[in-house]
Symmetry: C2
Subunit: 102 residues, 2 copies
């Protein structure tokens, strides 16, 4: 068995989940993003987005800061260094998979 293929079972489940992969991909392209922006970009419901962000925060991949813009609450999300590293490493694993099965 090709060890590279077997390593598929080691894929980072936190990032592998499609909605979280989408969130992390978006955050990898910006300095930071607020909750409403992420909701609009991903098309996720408020509850789903919130649950996925909590999971990403728990893994140390996303930093969430709650603040105010005037009187309106503002939730700022930012990919952490470990988050970016995990994302890049996940991408590399997928690229290898695509390469090996091509």
């Amino acid at each position: 068995m090709d060890e590279g293929l077997r390593s598929l079972t080691d894929l980072d489940r936190v990032i592998h989940e499609p909605a979280r992969l989408l969130i992390v991909t978006i955050l990898s392209t910006v300095e930071s993003a607020d909750f409403l922006f992420l909701q609009r970009e991903t098309g996720l419901t408020k509850g789903n987005l919130s649950a996925h962000l909590t999971k990403l925060e728990g893994a140390g991949y996303v930093e969430i800061t709650k603040t105010f813009k005037g009187k309106l609450p503002l939730t700022i999300c930012k990919l952490t260094k470990p988050g970016l590293k995990a994302f890049n490493s996940y991408r590399q694993q997928l690229a290898k998979f695509i390469d090996k099965t091509g």
Copy 2:
């Protein structure tokens, strides 16, 4: 938002699960495979492999035939045409993702 990226949330969950992705990848390279071969190649436990095969069979992606080799039971697994189609389409979606985030 890049619609190609948003389509990540449409990824086929049956195939996206890493252990099932590994099983389907192996089956895509052979005419058919018996249960013990798959167990050895994937490194999955008997129970896990069995559960994932049942899920793949339920989706119509894998055809499972139970027979005998002498007096020993033999379970033959084969990727169906819809299974191969789903695998190829999944690979293409991943390849697009890799391409867009590169």
